[in-house]
Subunit: 326 residues, 2 copies
DNA sequence: CTGAAAGCGCTAACAG
DNA sequence: CTGTTAGCGCTTTCAG
């Protein structure tokens, strides 16, 4: 039933090498070419990418590890990476790990012998360094990681200066005469901690009180803000390391009849599309997802195709993108 | 440099078949097993998934076609599908097509000879039927499509009754004494048109005026609603076939000091996580993304692993999930 | 321009 | 339990 290159060759009365040449756009005499074309059309033959892959030692496929594709940050990253990789001739396998070590390990084991390289999005994946036997799986292929560094031969790091981003945001609020600025930390990976440091640094420099709240729930901004309003009544600004938390904060403030942007400023992080849908629209730190994602894809392609690569990390700086909330 | 099964066999002083048996957890005498294990560990050997795939005629990989992974609906679908497929032993290749025919064609050609099956999310992909030569690419593998049917041998359809969903929502508003209900149609694929039909049907049955507005911009809800407020001042309810449009509508209404949920009701569609972040929270049609996505994954697995399959379409019905906006 | 033959790394009879 | 052998479907020398 399944047609292969031998079938085509015999029916077109030529050799498999000639069919192979035809398939790879090499020189084939017009009449031979015509016969091959007819047989291929007749049987609707498609060469096996797997067999091709065995010879080429590559399926032109890359795995992208994210925490959860439903979160706008990862969805954006996956979108831009897939887009860029497609241009560069690679397919994208998506791995939703939920940040769970067991899931990460399972995906790495399954995928590492099938892909040409791996992109890890997010500092959670630094955890892998603690498990040498897991690391061993990716020792043969190039990897790119954002906001981190893996202890393997061929690893490229793409950094986004999260700390500086939140520092900038905090400074901005201080300049706008905000004095009671709270920070809501979401999760506790390396990036989350750095962001918190940025807040602390700016507040300390200005000799202002530090007030940090925590949540691990992406939709927990509302609840945390209710706590803030209860425990820190004169709050006049809230910053969060994640847009969705900030949007939750806006909702809570509005429910308490606090005019967001005036009575209390709010700044988010990631600059996801939802900033524009928030009411009022959210001011947020733009952490250059598109640029950094494209850099991930391009760097990995370089590493896959050349033994040598520039292992100097790439760093992107954040900017504030203004909405109505601050 | 690259180690293969021959290297392991010779260094462990046994045959490749024995190594193969070891790798596939078959019976191997303890001492032989031990030698093999040592050599494998020494060289950090990982069997090639590609070579395995060539023999098995399968890489245990599935392609999922979406319009844009950044849209919550597709992100959710991709998440649940990846999750379910992972449980079933398959990897997920993601294809962001933006709904562009050329991109769809390109991805199909690249991917069809590499994957065990394809899942198409969304009625846009019905367009493929118009191009027999594209269809020819997927004639050898099983496909699953939501809200559509492709003219290939092995196609399973998973439907979500969008029309009924919007019909239900409209009826509900009518029962709540809303009389000037507008509908905002987003994009114009089969599903979008069906939703509009659901609205029309309910309005006609109740002898109420039909007012349909259009946008192709996922973030265009704000603008359209401004138009509505200008041209149809006594509007008392807005329904949209997409949550983000509805959230934009809420924003516009609020800006005009119209109390959403009281003066004007708003109902969205998809029941994405952002319903809860909206201010006020959005009432929306739950179109069972999790259930239908799992059904996609399971159906495709059945089709991949069995020549026979139940080609009866599966249909899911929508429910209203209440927030504060209606 | 074309064909024969070797090989990519693994699995699966088959005979021992 | 183990080794030999023949593929899986393609690319790539190397002669012709």
């Amino acid at each position: 039933m399944k047609i292969n290159i031998y079938d085509i060759a015999s029916e077109a009365d030529t050799s498999i090498s000639t069919v192979s040449r035809y398939l790879n756009n090499k020189n084939v005499r017009p009449d031979t070419r015509k016969r091959i074309e007819e047989v291929i059309a007749k049987y609707n033959y498609k060469p096996s990418a797997i067999a091709k892959g065995l010879v080429a030692h590559s399926l032109k496929t890359v795995a992208v590890f994210v925490v959860d594709i439903r979160m706008p940050h990862y969805a954006n990253a996956a979108y831009y990476i897939d887009n860029e990789l497609a241009k560069l001739g690679y397919r994208t396998i998506i791995c939703n790990t939920r940040g769970e070590l067991t899931t990460i390990v399972k995906y790495i084991e399954e995928v590492s012998s099938q892909v040409d390289g791996i992109i890890f999005i997010g500092s959670v994946f630094n955890e892998i360094n603690r498990f040498p036997d897991v690391l061993a799986n990716i020792t043969n292929i190039p990897v790119v990681i954002t906001n981190g560094k893996l202890d393997v031969q061929r690893c490229k790091s793409i950094y986004v200066d999260d700390e500086e981003g939140i520092y900038k945001a905090t400074k901005y609020l201080i300049e706008k005469n905000k004095r009671n600025i709270c920070y809501i930390q979401y999760s506790n990976n390396v990036s989350a901690l750095k962001k918190t440091e940025g807040y602390k640094k700016a507040m300390e420099e200005a000799n202002l009180p530090i007030n940090i709240y925590y949540t691990n729930d992406l939709f927990g901004g509302y609840e945390v803000t209710e706590n803030i309003l209860f425990s820190y009544k004169n709050v006049d600004a809230i910053i969060s390391g994640e847009d969705l938390i900030a949007i939750g904060a806006i909702r809570a403030l509005s429910c308490h009849n606090i005019v967001v942007g005036k009575d209390c400023a709010v700044i988010g992080f990631n600059c996801s599309q939802y900033c524009e849908l928030s009411n009022p629209t959210l001011t947020a730190i733009d952490n250059k997802i598109e640029e950094s994602s494209i850099a991930c894809a391009q760097s990995l392609k370089e590493m896959i195709e050349n033994e040598e690569f520039d292992d100097k990390p790439i760093t992107f700086n954040c900017e504030i993108k203004f909405g109505e909330s601050a």
